[in-house]
Symmetry: C2
Amino acid sequence: MSGSISQDQISTLLRRNQLSVTEGRRRILEVFMEAGIALSHHDIEEKTSERLDRVTVYRTLQTFLEKGIMHTIPTTDNSVLYALCKDTCGDGHHHDDHVHFICEICGTTTCLDGLTIPFITLPDGYQVSQVNMIVNGRCKKCAA
Amino acid sequence: MSGSISQDQISTLLRRNQLSVTEGRRRILEVFMEAGIALSHHDIEEKTSERLDRVTVYRTLQTFLEKGIMHTIPTTDNSVLYALCKDTCGDGHHHDDHVHFICEICGTTTCLDGLTIPFITLPDGYQVSQVNMIVNGRCKKCAA
DNA sequence: GTAACTGCAAAATATTTGCATCCTT
DNA sequence: AAGGATGCAAATATTTTGCAGTTAC
C-alpha cells in the first residue's frame, strides 16, 4: 500500500513549496496519499500517533494550509476536513478558485482545480473575487 | 436599531420551524438581524453575554443548524461563521443548494438561495446531489 | 554551523454533559 | 401540568505556547 507512494514525489512537492523535508511533513503527506480522501484532524492524529506528536500535526497542517498544499473543506455536520489537492501537488501552486467533489458513499475527495467554475449572475453591482464550490454526490465508482 | 426588528417576524420564524419561542432563541435571532452579517461563535457569545449563558448559545445554534434556519460558512483562515439565511427566514424551509456571498470589505453575508447554481460538467459518471458555493467579493455598496 | 522542526509539559480555550430550576404552551 | 429550555458546575476536548533537544541543509 504505502509502497505505491514515492518518496521522490513527496520530496519534490515539499521542495517546490520551499519546505524542508522532515519526518512530520513526510509522514502526514504519506497518510493523505494512502487515504486518498479528505481527513479530519482527529483522523490524521490517529494515523500518525505512533510517530508524531499532536502538536507537530497542528503545526504541519497549518504550514500546508499556508502554502496551499492543502485546503479545508467544511462538512454538512459543521466540522472541517483537510484535503490534499492533487494538482497543487503537481505544480506547487495555489489557485484561488476551488471545486471540491466529495463522494457521499465512499468519502473520496477530489480537488477539481481543472474545472472552470461557470459564470454566475449576481445581483447588480456585485463583484466576484473568489469562488469556492463544494459538490456532494457520487463518484464514478459509487454511482453505478 | 433593534426597533426595526419585529418580534412577530421572529416568532413566526420559530413557530414555522416547530420551535417554541424562548428568550435564548429570540435574542440570538435579534443579534443576527441587527448585525446583518455572518458571525463567529465568539461574536455571538459576546453580543449575548449579558442575557444568555454560553451553553445556551451552543445549544441554540445547534438547533438552528439542524432546522436549516442557519448555515455555517467556512472562512479562508479556517474558522467557521454562522449565517442566518434570509429566504429561509421567509418560508421556513431548508434548501439543499446554497450560495453565500461574502463581502471582503464590509463583511456582509448574503445567502443567495434564489440564485440558480449553474450546471457544471464533472468527469464522466459523477453524480451531483448537492452543491454549495461560497463567493467572495465586493457587495454593491463596497464595489464602487 | 545555523536555522528550523519536533516533542514534551503546561497553559489557555473551546465544547459537552448532568442535573436542578424555570419557562412555554 | 408536562415537556422542553436554561443556567450553573464540572468534565472533556481542542488548540496554543515556551522551551530544550534534534534534524535538515
